[in-house]
Assembly symmetry: C2
Homo-oligomer: 412 residues x 2
Amino acid sequence: MAVNLPLPEAAELKPVAGIELGHAEAGVRKPGRKDLLVMKLAPEATVAGVFTANRFCAAPVQVCKAHLEGMRLSGAPIRALVINTGNANAGTGEAGLAAANETCTALAGLLGCEPAQILPFSTGVILEPLPVDRIKAGLPQAIANLQGDNWLNAAHAIMTTDTQPKAASASVVINGKTVTLTGISKGAGMIKPNMATMLGFLAFDAKVAQPVLDRLVKQAADKSFNCITIDGDTSTNDSFIIMATGAAGVEVNDIDSPEYAQLAEAVIALSQKLAQMIVRDGEGATKFMTVQVEQGRSADECRKIAYAIGHSPLVKTAFYASDPNLGRILAAIGYAGVDDLDVSKLDLYLDDVWVAKSGGRNPDYQEADGQRVMKQSEITIRVKLARGDASATIWTCDLSHDYVSINADYRS
Amino acid sequence: MAVNLPLPEAAELKPVAGIELGHAEAGVRKPGRKDLLVMKLAPEATVAGVFTANRFCAAPVQVCKAHLEGMRLSGAPIRALVINTGNANAGTGEAGLAAANETCTALAGLLGCEPAQILPFSTGVILEPLPVDRIKAGLPQAIANLQGDNWLNAAHAIMTTDTQPKAASASVVINGKTVTLTGISKGAGMIKPNMATMLGFLAFDAKVAQPVLDRLVKQAADKSFNCITIDGDTSTNDSFIIMATGAAGVEVNDIDSPEYAQLAEAVIALSQKLAQMIVRDGEGATKFMTVQVEQGRSADECRKIAYAIGHSPLVKTAFYASDPNLGRILAAIGYAGVDDLDVSKLDLYLDDVWVAKSGGRNPDYQEADGQRVMKQSEITIRVKLARGDASATIWTCDLSHDYVSINADYRS
């Protein structure tokens, strides 16, 4: 069902020295599926993350933030990540915080570190108590499975309504040494900027100082996971984590160095790939759409317009139907909230087809041309605002019958 | 398919002295359907309107605004409204403006008035040229049909994807005299505040001075049509018009008078009924939901939260499925954009069922109770923010398979 998203093969996913991954079937919500993942880090690794902007941020997100802050103060490194699916541990109040902390304490006991050196993550149903005993009971199995070449199982273990695992590797040569990058992601609904029910974990074996990694994770998120939307719902649990193990003998400690630029380029490219995989596997998706807004006064107004288009159920159903009912795109631009927008200057393209010119239908536009593009599985919507030099790009998918089915049936 | 929306009967719809309505089958988009309406006004009537906030506002909306402005300057009253379905005349640039003006000129010629005394309205597909010749050719038939007791045909003539006509009457006794009010509305998709692909026309036979009517139309819209959402898309053509014919011998010229209060109460109640009819007939709707946000710091923040809930596809599909997956409501509250919201104080009710207490699951909440309410066709979602005295209420519907079908097939 996913749009142009080939299944990853285990052999393509390169181990990152300094990271071991172990999965388990803990039966968090349903028996017989991989639903628990432990990622163990070498002691010299640095870790940085960005998290959901949702005010109802889940208990594990609160604990992650506190542990990352504690790590900055104490210098005691993060030693492991633990991720469960089946339950988001969100909207669970004090009991939820206690459950997230209990998970950390249990894993710390097994690994011989402090609870504050563990980062917990949860994804799944909101507003239900976390079955922490089942998670604790599953940890020894996950630890027994720890190994470096376990990325495909790891990608499986974090899936919820995803139809397939999402994982990719890349490499970049810096100062003559090869840095290996591998990442996994999950998410298929409740996907919106800042951020999504989306988990992303990206590791590489360069050595990166903490402040540099903090900057890199934000920069990568802003150019990848913060540019996708499926249904406009921002989840309570979104997290994107970058781990730098340092095993490759390459150091990047200066944001203004060419080494940083090379590493950032590779990290951003892999992050975009992982983020786009989420859209390609969007709930019920049949089309992958790139929305590109150009010639705006600010990136912010371009993003507003791109998201208005990307969120419009009318636009999304028209793409699902391959129906070039493109006035719906103009309507979305019109209500995007750019109050002084002069629509009489605006141009709209669908791939190479010039649909609207100076705010009205392009006299040369033929519906057959629009139809041809709409039938593709990958489409670029391009809007030119003719009022500046700023631009923004987001990625989204269509809205199909299956989206409704999946979300009407998710818990049953 | 509409939710608790009985078909109006012609006998229930009371004529308003000073208004005649004439419909025609002009074949604007498809033959054999009522798609053109003329509403002729007594010369002493006053008229006021509010229009879409969409920057891509349609040609007829631009002409309406200009003609209402001209009426204020010249004193020459508005003498007729002309409404076509099948084509929105939006995204049509200069040619669209010319077409709207040509419609006004044609009708003015037939009625013996100036083009500036006509208000034009269009609803339907965006970005296609208005077939103005067909509309002009249909006008004589509409004029031949003009009569006072033609409201049900009028309600039929403005339908697009509506499954049934929307019309209602009311009356109010002011100073011992009965004022009769009748209104019609249309709209089923692209429905959002400020405003919707929504047309509303409300007439009564009290006499109301222009500045007072200008105030009344805004007040009524803000409490009715601006409180509904189906899919979050604000249309290019929304218009809500109030017409005061003055035939009943009741005058309302002072906003601070008890007469104004009585009239406003009746107008607001009828406007709410007409607005709620649009939601009840929302594309694919199976549930009618009232979202009530209380104890906020401002009405604006309450509306933000109410609309985040009302727009969330995840909330809407859960209601469609009668699935009390109510954490989705908390997630929507969390991303509504109220940045300093303390969610640990927040309570959530579904009708009389207390679901979330102090930001977490209410320990006494039983899923069976949530399930019982979710199965109803009318549901109130109530959020208490515990941070002030402001509140807001909106009305919305669920998101079903039929919504996708209707919007994927709309033009075919």
